[in-house]
């Protein structure tokens, strides 16, 4: 019995031991532990968010505990207040907004970064060569249309004269869970196909499309399997060495998923009145897909932080400080990770918006 009680005491002591440990400043005095902000959601922004988390902890002594689980998670758990803020690439729709307001009052959408949804693929036969795809072709690939079942289908070959495309089935990969990336991608397909494809965070994928979990799951799958194609935030494609396709934009130009092309799309979007839901429901939300401008990348998107306008006194100030940092100094880390920094005009609006957050 003594041995048993000793064992129980030992394991019970674990959390107590773990909870200790004040941080010692260089001058030897002790301050409290760094503030910890709990967050989650979009996988689109995850590489940047992890970078921010690392930098912010280093320089500001605060921990941003971000667990990427998809934009659907970001919205839902923000409403449930299990996290301090969520990230989503798809703004709250009317239902979600009503539910959130009921739970905690007004919700702010704070743009954090802009990025491209790249069409990434793994076709060994054309490694190192450019591939061009149009929105219509892409739509039919994702609808598993007979006319574009294989890589050497006529409709693809016609866009890429001289390219030795293989006689292999296209392996089509999509996201398995609710996803902001899926929302951006399907919104573009919806526009490009004139409504043939329906926009959604969880589109109705047809038979023959495989679902993988998370942006890393999607890009990881394509990396590991020849003849696969997917849509994913461009950083995931780059870090995995995947080729990305050039797309034809609204002006007819062929554009790759570069940061500059996203910036161009954003400049156009900022000039455009956002009259469609869910963008019209919030102050700082913009649709960047299929934007005007000859240099625009057609599948661009924004990731937003969603948070309640009324924040608790204990964590709220730290949260607002982080968001201020992320939308100003933090923007200097975007380009190295293939994102596009927020335009100055937008930063100014964000600053005004964050000033309206109250603490109670």
């Amino acid at each position: 019995m003594t041995r048993f009680l000793t064992f129980v005491f030992f394991v019970s002591a674990l959390p107590i031991v773990g909870g200790c440990g004040d941080k010692k400043n260089p001058d030897g005095t002790t301050s409290g532990p760094p503030a910890r902000i709990s967050a989650g959601g979009s996988t689109f922004i995850n590489p940047l968010m992890q970078k921010w988390s690392s930098e912010y902890k280093q320089n500001k002594n605060a921990e941003i505990d971000y667990v990427s689980q998809g934009s659907g998670y970001g919205i839902e758990q923000t409403t449930k207040k299990t996290i301090d803020f969520g990230c989503t690439d798809a703004p709250m729709n009317k239902d979600q907004l009503a539910k959130a307001k009921e739970a905690g009052g007004d919700v702010y959408h704070i743009p954090l970064t802009m990025g491209a949804v790249a069409v990434a693929y793994n076709v060994p036969e054309i490694a190192g060569k450019e591939l061009k795809l149009t929105g219509e072709v892409l739509t039919d690939i994702y609808l598993r249309d007979e006319s574009v079942k294989k890589w050497n289908a006529k409709r693809i070959a016609d866009l890429n004269p001289g390219l030795a495309l293989p006689d292999k089935d296209i392996v089509v990969v999509a996201r398995a869970e609710k996803s902001g990336t899926s929302n951006i991608f399907s919104e573009y397909l919806s526009k490009a196909s004139k409504g043939k494809f329906k926009a959604s965070t969880k589109p109705d994928w047809v038979q023959g499309v495989t679902g993988q979990q998370g942006s890393d799951g999607v890009s990881g799958f394509v990396k590991g399997n020849s003849y696969a194609i997917c849509y994913v935030e461009v950083e995931f494609a780059k870090k995995n060495g995947l080729a990305t396709a050039l797309l034809k934009n609204k002006k007819g130009a062929w554009v790759g998923p570069e940061a500059a092309a996203v910036t161009a799309a954003a400049e156009e979007a900022l000039k455009t009145k956002q009259d469609k839901e869910p963008y019209s429901l919030h102050d700082l939300t913009y649709s960047l897909t299929d934007a005007d401008g000859a240099k625009s990348y057609p599948i661009s998107g924004l990731t937003y932080a969603v948070l309640f306008a009324k924040q608790p006194k204990d964590k709220g100030p730290a949260l607002v400080e982080f968001l201020k940092w992320a939308t100003t100094e933090g923007q200097s880390f975007t380009t190295e990770l293939s994102y596009a920094p927020l335009p100055d005009e937008l930063r100014a609006k964000i600053k005004e918006k964050l000033a309206l957050v109250t603490f109670e």
Partner: protein
């Protein structure tokens, strides 16, 4: 020696006895309360959907479009049924064959070694099965086969077949172990009678042992089926996540547990209700499997009596048959002997095939995991600049398991004392029954329970939900409790009654007898059971994703979201080949399996033969 005055003897001991009994009974009733709360919470959360079956067509529609308020889960039901059937088709013949070999043919040393290996296989965490399934079985096994068959390689070997195969490996140990026990229970006289009449070994197995053991084998199948149906992590990682009915051999799909794990915490309102309703469905199915299994096990004792009746009714022995021609008899015997040799080989092959997956898994994980094993793994965080590790997750797992143990072990042991030492109490039977059923509840259902009870409580107007170590540990404790109860009860039952009688004869009260005689005697076996339970929950993933969530930092208090090692296996498993994350996943899998294996090996070495009782509780 002067007899103490009656008054002084009955005073204080009586009070202590009463308190002790009340404590044990309360522990037992707490088990009932947990089970009742589980059912109540799930039904409450699912009620919007359950109460309007005509509106949602949960089981008859294949349209799962939550954004359009359509909740047809037929696709998930189909996926669950197909993967479970595939698993059973493979695991039942192999498992029963293995059991027959071990029970009737194997030399004692082979029996011991194989029993040990099966325990190892059963101890492997499901998230590791999933990881191995997607990286090895699907990608390197099925994908080339599909390619060779000219089938479209939609998901690199992932799909219903891969999920079914992984499940079959997971349930194989259970079918084998239970079938073996049941065959061992067949009276020796039956075998000897058959052999004495000139039957071969195989004929004895086929005509005597298997028929006699059939109810028990069916029970094993029901238990295994319940487990296969409720499996979450291994399936969600290899099934390729598609939402349509796919009848092809290379078809992809999804299952009930899988969709719950992926979508529950991005869901609210009716969608959440629909997902919880699927959880209720899982709960009902697995409970039915469990009850059926237990009824069959109880029936094992009856065939004997039934078999006896025809003999009694037959007053006149049958006339002996005329002797067969010598040539026919000789030919028949020769054929029987050939069949015997073939079937002996076949049964041995079954056992071999049962054990092969263990080495495939352990070998593959060791090869892939060792490369990343370095000091950084244990001392760094995933985002550290100067190295990558999972220190926080190792610490978090230890914390969660420790807290779960601190909760489940005292409670479980007290409940077991009640079951073992107060047998005449009318609550004993229902408590034991419910504890056994609780052990069969799918982990994803316990995850829903933890989520609804502690993360985002259903009963109060809570302002802020909270993922935490408390919630995670609670979920693990609920899973651990039935194992502890059963191990402890079995251990106490093995304590000879003579020890109790001696204690009573010396004037000790029941409380004193239990605390000073029975528990110390049973302690080694109880500890064995506890360690086996630890091994089981250390690898759990599904309930923790819904309760502890995971974190990128060291947990400070139990109220924080808490990281755990299996989370990184699950999350990083799908990263790109060659990426640093997937190496972390392999190393994590290696470390996790190593811990579990060491727990099992250590338990076996320390406890020797006592492991038998505890092993049955697993």
């Amino acid at each position: 020696m002067t007899t103490p005055a009656p008054a002084s003897r009955s005073g204080p001991p009586s009070w202590g006895d009463f308190a002790f009994r009340w404590l044990c009974q309360s522990a037992g009733m707490f088990v009932l309360a947990i089970a009742a709360a589980l059912v109540a919470v799930l039904v409450f959360k699912a009620w919007p959907v359950l109460s309007e079956p005509g509106k949602y067509h949960l089981l008859t529609s294949k349209k799962w479009y939550p954004d359009d308020d359509e909740y047809g889960a037929l696709v998930f039901v189909y996926g669950t049924v197909v993967t479970s059937l595939i698993a059973m088709l493979i695991a039942v013949p192999l498992g029963v064959g293995s059991a027959a070999y071990l029970s009737e043919l194997a030399p004692p040393w082979v029996r011991k070694v194989c029993a040990f290996l099966l325990e190892m296989l059963a101890a492997i965490p499901s998230v590791v099965f999933g990881f191995w399934g997607v990286e090895f079985l699907a990608k390197q096994g099925l994908a080339p086969i599909f390619e060779a068959m000219g089938l479209s390689n939609v998901a690199a070997g992932q799909g219903l077949l891969a999920a079914g195969l992984v499940l079959s490996v997971m349930i194989l140990p259970y079918i084998t172990a239970v079938s073996f026990d049941v065959m061992q229970a067949v009276p020796r006289s039956q075998r000897e009678g058959s052999l004495a009449l000139g039957s071969t070994r195989w004929q004895t197995i086929w005509r005597v042992v298997l028929p006699y053991a059939r109810p028990g084998i069916l029970a094993a199948c029901f238990l295994a089926l319940g487990r296969a149906i409720g499996e979450t992590m291994a399936v969600t990682m290899v099934i390729a996540n598609s939402q349509y009915l796919d009848f092809r051999i290379n078809g992809t799909g999804d299952t009930i547990p899988s969709v719950i794990a992926k979508e529950l915490f991005e869901a609210s309102g009716d969608k959440q209700a629909a997902l919880v309703a699927l959880g209720v469905l899982l709960l009902v199915i697995t409970l039915v499997m469990n009850v059926a299994a237990r009824l069959l096990v109880r029936w094992v004792g009856k065939p004997r009596a039934r078999r006896g009746r025809p003999v009694r009714l037959d007053d006149t022995p049958p006339a002996p048959e005329p002797p067969r021609p010598a040539a026919e008899t000789a030919a028949g015997q020769a054929r029987a002997k050939r069949t015997d040799r073939v079937m002996r080989f076949a049964l041995a092959l079954c056992q071999f095939l049962t054990v092969v997956p263990l080495f495939l898994i352990l070998g593959y994980i060791a090869v892939r995991g060792v490369g990343g094993l370095n000091w950084d793994f244990f001392t760094k965080l995933p985002n550290d600049r100067d190295g990558r590790g999972l220190k926080h997750a190792i610490y978090g797992s230890a914390m969660l398991v420790g807290m779960a143990t601190a909760f489940a072990v005292p409670l479980g042991v007290l409940a077991a004392v009640f079951l073992a030492e107060y047998r005449t109490n009318r609550l004993v039977a229902p408590i034991r029954f419910v504890a056994e059923l609780l052990g069969g509840v799918p982990s994803i259902v316990i995850g829903i329970f933890g989520y609804a009870l502690l993360v985002y409580p259903v009963w109060m107007d809570v302002k802020r939900g909270m993922f935490s170590a408390w919630a995670g540990a609670f979920a693990l404790a609920v899973m651990m409790l039935p194992v502890v109860i059963r191990a402890a009860e079995e251990a106490m039952r093995l304590v000879p009654n003579s020890l109790r009688e001696a204690s009573y004869a010396l004037g000790a009260s029941r409380r004193q007898t239990v605390l000073k005689v029975v528990l110390p005697a049973a302690l080694p076996a109880i500890i064995t059971g506890v360690f086996l339970a630890l091994g089981r929950i250390a690898g759990e993933t599904a309930p923790l994703i819904l309760t502890a969530r995971g974190s990128q930092f060291m947990p400070r208090t139990p109220s924080d979201p808490t990281p755990f090692l299996p989370f990184y296996i699950y999350r990083f498993a799908s990263y790109a080949p060659g990426s640093p994350e997937i190496q972390l996943a392999w190393t994590a899998a290696f470390v996790l399996v190593a811990v579990v294996v060491m727990l099992n090996v250590g338990v076996r070495l320390i406890s020797g033969k006592r492991v038998v009782a505890a092993a049955r509780a697993d």
